[in-house]
Symmetry: C2
Amino acid sequence: MKNFKPYYAVIFTSTQTEDTKGYTKMAEKMEALAKQQKGYLGIESAKNKVGITVSYWESLKAIKNWKANTEHLFAQQKGREQWYNWYNVRICKVEREYEFKLD
Amino acid sequence: MKNFKPYYAVIFTSTQTEDTKGYTKMAEKMEALAKQQKGYLGIESAKNKVGITVSYWESLKAIKNWKANTEHLFAQQKGREQWYNWYNVRICKVEREYEFKLD
């Protein structure tokens, strides 16, 4: 844990409506766009009944900028109007981390 | 955001080996056991290529206790020996949260 530099995670959990038209394309577009943002560190996604997407960022400012990105704002609006019946966003400070890799 | 009380999230991301024998049963057992722990707040899981499980806790102490739980230690060991070829654990402080619900 020496020299561990805290960073931030956005935990986005959601359930979708039945109207998935255009969703996959938009999700791919937003992921590609997120990767271009300043302070972006990574993203992980999985979806069954609930969808979980966790994105990682250098700072709260980077998260704020991404949230306010014009194309992202449009996608958020579309999400509320069409794709999601529920979502939750948690802004988190990553304080510790450890990893296991099989030899 | 008034009166928001910070709590903790453990982001567990993983990829599995091909040897999944006993995994589902153990995962269910561990989820049931986690729910009985002091300071447990909730859990969310999804799995495709990567598995993401996020559990929520009142305090770092609750997380530490859960990590050190005897049955959980056994499951962790089995996970490293058999089920996972990679995993990552991030301990996070949830600082802000917002929710959307369709009317």
